[in-house]
């Protein structure tokens, strides 16, 4: 499964929801599908996309939050699995694209390439629901299931270590930040 195809498969679900991505390939590929004011690309601070998503999900219990994480980022903040599992906001879907590689920064293999199992780690952390996908169809089904029945979910999706044609977003990071903040402010004022 290509990550870009997986993102395209679920893009209609992302359009209406609060989405936080990690930097690099995930951000570039989601951006290429079409930027929305409800998308925030965390262009640094590897590992903290899920923590940021936790803050959003706890503060906005009426909104579905989707974090698009990666194996390299998650490995830099494994404690987050225990915190997510502990507070388990039902409106948080934590997708981990696992390509076994630091593909955006030179392609060195990560520990998942030599056997570390992030889905098992999420289960062992006490995550209420852990799903896994290796094909596009499985990924589609898993996302549909996670969004249909609210529960804090980590979905580990095995993808190829492919890189996007370009990592460039035609969007300054502060522009993204202020736009995202304004979008969330408008959600609160209209609710």
């Amino acid at each position: 499964m290509l990550r870009a195809d997986a993102l395209r498969e679920i893009y209609p679900e992302l359009e209406r929801r609060i989405v936080v991505t990690i930097m690099g390939a995930v951000a570039a590929e989601l951006y290429a599908l079409g930027h929305r004011p409800n998308f925030f690309y965390l262009e640094h601070s590897m590992g903290l996309a899920s923590s940021l998503g936790l803050g959003l999900a706890l503060a906005l219990p009426g909104q579905q939050v989707i974090v698009l994480d990666g194996d390299g980022s998650l490995l830099m903040n494994l404690g987050t699995l225990t915190t997510l599992a502990r507070y388990r906001p039902p409106n948080l879907l934590h997708v981990v694209f696992d390509n076994g590689s630091l593909v955006s920064v030179g392609g060195f293999p990560t520990a998942t390439a030599s056997g570390t199992d992030l889905a098992e780690m999420a289960r062992a952390a006490g995550m209420p629901r852990v799903l896994e996908a290796e094909t596009l169809a499985q990924f589609r089904t898993a996302v549909t299931q996670a969004l249909a029945r609210p529960a804090m979910t980590t979905l580990v999706a095995k993808v190829e270590a492919s890189a996007p044609a370009s990592y460039r977003l035609d969007l300054d990071l502060l522009e993204n930040r202020f736009q995202f903040k304004r979008y969330l402010d408008s959600l609160r004022s209209s609710s």
Binding site: H44, L58, L173, R188
Partner: protein, 173 residues
């Protein structure tokens, strides 16, 4: 030499006055009575993290969502959170209100706290994070409200340091 329950209660009341609704924390001895008060408060949510770095991510999420928050940690935890303070909070202009127990400073008796104590203020200055060391005679509510106001207007982290004289009751100086 117990933690000052009176000090903890005064800080808690200051957090209430600031309308703090989310408190992330990595508990440590000095902070326990304060965090117990937070935990018992139905209007506040305590989020206990495994590592202080997580708190900066949670702070950004809470800020984006419009929920007033504060992030409580020991000064050694602040040192552990430097990168996210730089490359999330400062890079993205996120106001983060930090409440830091200031170990290893005046009156410290534990040798292992002292190196972090020596470095806390120089590191805060190097990061250009405005900070205030609370004193026992301070109006804590006023000081916390001022820190919160500055963070929100500057869109920048601001730190309030909980000193020994506020949080600890020594038998004798």
């Amino acid at each position: 030499m117990p933690v000052s329950l009176e000090g903890a209660r005064r800080i808690y009341e200051a957090l209430k006055a600031c309308n703090i609704r989310l408190v992330s924390a990595l508990p440590e001895t000095w902070l326990v009575p304060l965090l117990r008060l937070v935990e018992a408060d139905q209007e506040m949510r305590l989020v206990q993290v495994a590592r202080e770095e997580e708190s900066i991510g949670i702070a950004a999420g809470a800020y984006f969502a419009g929920l007033p928050s504060i992030h409580v940690m020991q000064n050694h935890g602040f040192l552990a959170a430097i990168n996210p303070l730089v490359s999330l909070a400062m890079l993205y202009k996120i106001p983060v209100l930090l409440l830091i127990s200031y170990r290893g400073s005046w009156g410290e008796r534990d040798p292992w706290q002292t190196q972090g104590g020596l470095l806390t203020e120089p590191v805060l200055r190097a990061l250009t994070i405005p900070y205030y060391c609370l004193r026992r005679e301070d109006d804590l509510t006023r000081r916390l409200k001022e820190a919160q106001a500055l963070a929100l207007s500057a869109l920048h982290p601001v730190a309030v340091l909980l000193t020994r004289e506020v949080l600890w009751e020594d038998e004798e100086p």
